[in-house]
């Protein structure tokens, strides 16, 4: 089994090749890379596209992040880099009810001006949180009336999942 913490440290290397190698190794680690979830999300904002692509590939297969990672993922869901925000949001959605503390951040991502893919994934994530995301209902209702069909559909599905 690879040394996950060593690979996480390498993701911050000044050497691009070392970062690519670390991201690829974490991808090959599969679910064992779960402790690197937050570092992989940050790596989605790397300047090098191969680092980003390997980080994305690792995150696609990672499943839900460790519960301890949720607190660090919440601010990343509001990150200015759309790919970082998208993947932080995705991991929060995979966490389901355990990510209820992310409701305000995710609701803010629904509002106009945010990256469309991040807004859509935020609606999806709020639906995964379910009733614990009740505070997001006003933002979801505005999104459900949006002209973008995918965002509107996901917001409606989230409202149905939240209920009440």
């Amino acid at each position: 089994m690879p040394d996950i913490q060593a690979l996480v440290a390498s993701l911050s290397s000044q050497d691009t090749a070392a970062r690519v190698e670390a991201a690829e190794a974490l991808c090959r680690a599969g679910a064992d890379a779960a402790p690197a979830a937050v570092a992989l999300v940050r790596a989605c904002g790397d300047d090098d596209d191969q680092v980003r692509e390997w980080a994305v590939a690792a995150l696609e297969e990672l499943g839900p992040p460790p519960a301890a990672a949720i607190a660090d993922l919440i601010p990343l869901a509001g990150d200015g880099h759309p790919l970082v925000a998208y993947w932080a949001t995705t991991l929060l959605g995979r966490s389901g009810v355990a990510a209820a503390a992310a409701t305000a951040t995710l609701a803010a991502s629904l509002d106009a001006g945010r990256d469309p893919a991040v807004a859509e994934r935020s609606a999806w994530a709020l639906g995964k949180i379910g009733p614990g995301a009740v505070a997001a209902k006003p933002a979801l209702e505005r999104a459900a009336a949006a002209s973008a069909p995918r965002l509107a559909r996901l917001a409606k599905e989230a409202l149905a999942a939240i209920g009440g």
Partner: protein, 323 residues
């Protein structure tokens, strides 16, 4: 002369029991592709392929980009995989460069093979994009250039709308040749049920895309196995090649498949398999994962139209109109 040896046939090679005698015989011809591993010397010439079947494969080559192409041993495995098949539907070409697939096909052809490719546009909702590609053996298969495209997704239900292309075999007279749509897909792992539902509609749209084509083969990384194919069950006669085994390199999930309908695609011979990278190439898991986290999956098809012989030839046919 190259010193070669045969290694294990792909794991999970199966032939259905319910075939007619004629098709059963062809199924034997279409038995598992064999992989010759060169030990030394110049590359061997292209391997002979069965006359009674074409082998259609799907392969998610995880993050197929510059860093993977820079690994000679990985490219070597990938080229040997592709040469076993007549067509390979590839998922996950991820690169800024447009040279990945051209360079890869040159590597495939280094032994004298004559493969070519068609590739789709970069797709994805974020800045991380993927491309689909079909790599095919031009000595046995041809593509209708006017048929190549992305299936429209006006409701934005699919993260990466599938790439479709219509092919025809070249190893039988044109008027008898098996023609078929291939629809290449990589679903979003976080929206699998919704995307499978959308793909059910895609499949049905492709069935009526043109009146002279009843064969639709949807293939790719579905991020789901047969127990999750509930929406596909609404397609009359739906069938799939891979069942009861795993398709990922870790041998833990069934994600990849070929989906079609019967009796429309009666050309399906019942032969299918998962080319297990570890077993086939004798690779430890860690090295197999450098190639991909997915194994290729494949199905064998009769190279002539079993029903409806006399379909109009592809040349000059009207372009498909999707609804």
């Amino acid at each position: 002369m190259a010193d070669t040896r045969d290694v294990a046939a792909p794991v999970s090679t199966r032939c259905a029991r319910s075939l007619s005698v004629r098709l059963a015989a062809l199924c034997l011809i279409a038995a598992a592709p064999r992989v010759a591993v060169a030990q030394a010397g110049p590359p061997a010439g292209p391997a002979a392929k069965p006359a009674g079947a074409i082998l259609i494969a799907s392969f998610n080559i995880q993050v197929f980009g510059e860093s993977k192409m820079a690994k000679q041993q990985v490219v070597e495995v990938l080229t040997r995989v592709v040469r076993q098949f007549d067509i390979v539907a590839i998922q996950e070409v991820r690169a800024k460069s447009d040279e990945i697939i051209p360079a890869f096909v040159r590597a495939v052809n280094a032994d004298g093979s004559r493969y070519h490719y068609v590739i789709g546009p970069r797709q994805g909702r974020t800045v991380s994009k993927e491309q689909y590609a079909f790599v095919y053996d031009t000595t046995r298969i041809e593509v209708d250039p006017s048929s190549v495209g992305v299936v429209p997704d006006p409701q934005n239900k699919l993260h990466r709308p599938p790439m479709r292309a219509r092919f025809r075999t070249r190893i039988t007279p044109a008027e008898m040749a098996f023609t078929f749509w291939l629809v290449d897909i990589h679903t979003d792992p976080d929206e699998v049920p919704q995307e499978l539902e959308a793909l059910t509609g895609v499949f049905q749209a492709m069935q009526t895309a043109r009146p002279d084509e009843d064969d639709v083969i949807l293939l790719g990384d579905l991020n789901a196995g047969p127990p999750e194919f509930k929406s596909f069950q609404r397609i009359p006669g739906v069938a799939w090649a891979v069942a009861g085994t795993t398709t990922n390199t870790r041998r833990s999930k069934t994600y990849d498949n070929l989906v079609f309908t019967r009796p429309a695609t009666s050309e399906y011979l019942g032969g299918w398999g998962v080319l297990d990278l570890q077993a086939t190439f004798g690779l430890p898991l860690e090295h197999a994962l450098e190639v991909s986290d997915h194994n290729p999956v494949w199905g064998a098809f009769y190279p002539a139209e079993v029903r409806g012989a006399g379909l109009p030839p592809m040349a000059g046919a009207a372009p498909p109109v999707l609804r």
